[in-house]
Symmetry: C3
Subunit: 344 residues, 3 copies
């Protein structure tokens, strides 16, 4: 795909500096871009690479135009404009319509001609696929699964029975949707499994990273709203409900029956306990542990940045004796107050 810079400027409403006929064929980073590439400057820490870039054009904020050695597009949000242009230059491949002869398809299943079912895929009974759905090699869909138009499953994805998936979703390899939630009841003879009879319902434009897992509901469904984006190895417990446009970075986890609001940003390795409510627009920083509901949107954290280990050991030692320290401080205050009073 090759596009003239002038065309990109018009398409995304950017002011253009430099030669409007510049031909853009691909994206590149400021540091390694070659001729014919378009790059962007969003994070100020990469500004040092601007002056020396070999990109043919750069998307940047107005303030950086004077430093730019090549053509540029001016945008308030260079990263967003970059996202659009990168998608123009590198469009996702269209499904190659057809069902591979090694794929296995159950009975009562509806697969439009525009779908691609790759080699080794196994699709259960009474499955219903929309137009242009792509099911990658060796992925497995259980019975009664529904997937809407233009959704794509990479290789080795597992979608269990009864899961419903919206339009334009993208699930990466190793994703497991609809496995049983962790429902067990204690008995004198050990733990008794609680059947997990709910399903998973996933909205439109949802992206799930590699090896992410979303459990089916115990009774009612687990729900991911529209535009939800989960990174790799995120765990979503049974009956969790995640609001529209909420994103979670890798290795985050949400325990059962918690409701996470819309437009939340949950950092990597953050953990949210079960049966909580997290307000819309909440930000949980990476590694934080949320054990109570969050009513007021804002930014939350409980992570401690790493220290040199010897110093850290001493801090932990002090921490473990904080109670003692507090007691001594109180005693001192008391003695001081008494003495103070006494000496007057």
């Amino acid at each position: 795909m090759a596009i003239q810079l002038a065309e990109l400027a018009v398409r995304y409403g950017c002011e253009l500096h430099g030669d409007p006929d510049t031909v853009i064929k691909q994206v590149g980073s400021l540091e390694t871009a070659v001729d014919g590439s378009i790059s962007f400057l969003a994070n100020a820490s990469y500004r040092k690479h601007l002056a020396g870039t070999a990109a043919s054009a750069v998307i940047l904020r107005e303030a950086f135009v004077p430093e730019c050695p090549t053509a540029c597009l001016v945008a308030d949000d260079p990263y967003l404009v970059y996202a659009y242009i990168a998608a123009d230059l590198h469009p996702a491949s269209e499904p190659a319509a057809g069902i591979h002869p090694t794929a296995v398809v159950g009975s009562g299943t509806r697969i439009p001609d525009s779908c691609e079912i790759a080699a080794g895929a196994v699709i259960g009974n009474n499955v219903n696929l929309g137009e242009r759905v792509y099911v990658g090699p060796n992925s497995v869909l259980g019975d009664d699964v529904e997937i809407s138009t233009d959704s794509r499953l990479a290789a080795n994805v597992s979608v269990c029975s009864g899961v419903r998936i919206g339009e334009r979703c993208l699930f990466h390899s190793g994703v497991v949707i609809g496995a049983d939630g962790f429902g067990i009841a204690q008995s004198p003879e050990g733990w008794v499994k609680v059947p997990q009879v709910g399903a998973v319902v996933i909205g439109n434009d949802v992206e799930l990273g590699a090896n992410t897992t979303v459990d089916r509901g115990a009774i009612d469904d687990t729900v991911l709203g529209n535009g939800v984006k989960l990174d790799n190895m995120v765990q979503i417990g049974h009956n969790v409900i995640i609001g529209d446009h909420t994103v979670m970075a890798s290795q985050a986890g949400v325990s059962g029956s918690t409701r996470v609001g819309a437009r939340c940003v949950i950092g990597g390795k953050a953990g949210i306990a079960g049966h909580l409510e997290i307000a819309d627009d909440t930000v949980v920083l990476g590694g934080a542990s949320v054990s109570k509901s969050i009513v007021r949107p804002g930014m939350y954290s409980s992570v401690i940045p790493a220290e040199e280990a010897g110093k850290w050991r001493r801090i932990v030692g002090r921490l473990k004796r904080l109670d003692d320290m507090a007691g001594r401080l109180k005693a001192l205050e008391k003695r001081f107050n008494k003495k103070d009073t006494g000496s007057n």
Copy 2:
């Protein structure tokens, strides 16, 4: 499946209030149950949904009978009785006996006629399956694997060579059993792999969540006792031994050669270091880091609940200077004692 309420009351020894002929067809939550459903009230925070429930019957403790607008079964442990009744109403499907024509089976392998080997499954040589074992689509069993009666592997499960699995186990999609443990020895030229020649031995009634991994032993075996239940993405290192009926929530991890006792409850994201011994009946709360053996059963934690980020930053700043604070407190005590003494 439809069962009369009277029959359920007898089966599980519950007192029945209301019409014994009530027909129960399915489970439902208090909030969303429809006619013909049985629900339960175990967690007091759901009590608010009792008065308005449309369930045909509810399992609950005696104290809640007066508030129940419909028929009910009285039980000391409503969740446990619910687990049994839900299993009656929603029994796990029986394997559809047979080997799918696209499955691949090695030589010397014994598969009883009652087993179901799904499409795309690959089973190695000298594998030995018990009656009614189910191997899901695209799952892979290495050579010399043994799986006992009534165990079920979902889609895309990987069981490596020599692994032995008990009866009535259930492994969800993406589970990997018997991959090499993380055994490496340092040499001047870099890390040298230590062959992992042990196996994994798994007891009866073990459930493993989606994408959970259990490594094979370095020399001796990794062992999961009877009734062990692991949630999604739990990591079990080589030569770990887990006692009977111990459960772990998602994203927990146990490092190599640690012995976890029986009936332990390990919370989500908890980490247990290597070469430790954890006493029977120990509870480790979610997110805690266990770095020493636990001799005395009890409840253990080291997780800090998230705070508003600005406040948390100040706390961390204080924490990092605790040593200084302790020193100042000590100095103050000294001066005070001296002064005190001096002024007498």
Copy 3:
């Protein structure tokens, strides 16, 4: 495989005590070894098992020779010598050359006769494999993948298009290489996907544990150096660069664009934030959170060992009020100083 002890002593330059004709057939642990086994003593906590061992030979340090009841090999680093000998006794199986009839191979793909492509494997177009590459059952290679000689992929591995893998690598089941990085840009209508057009480049002798994920670069490539060893469920974000011989234990994670130096050791569950630089030879202890670049190699930690939960709750209470405590201490110091001055 059977080898005389004298031969092993010569091969690895060890002093031999006992019968040089002792025949060694396998490895064993001190505790459970049977006749014909060689064991080792490296970790002092296993010394208690030395006197009673039934191993035919033990690899140990000179200091332990007097306690050894059987033949022994003396080594400065018994674990390293054990690693070499274990590999001699238990060599990895050679690929059984050939392409299984159920495997699917794309066009333009080059597979040397010495390779083994197992049942159900799916290999894309224009893939290039070196000699003796093994692709396990139901593993999937996208288009344009390159894998060099003697590398091995276990069952159910996913390698996305354009990934390049060096020699003698070993990827365990469930590994996903080259899925899209987590690149999203905020727009008024929700998150917009940023195409991930970089690849993943993996050096020689890299081992990746079960269900580990390595994302493809956003523009440039994600890079793992030679000799890198990652345990299970490790997450490597897009554009991360990991230096040679760095190792990471299970459930560790590195966020996008971070450069981890050579010969680093990253503990289990440790998290490293994005856009950082970690110096060569840095050790990050298990569970630590690294949120700033590390310039000085050394050992870093931020993990708090678990406490009895009641005591821990009190500590957390104190921690959350540290600011108040610091203020009171300061006030006390002030009053004391004033009084001290005033009373002179």
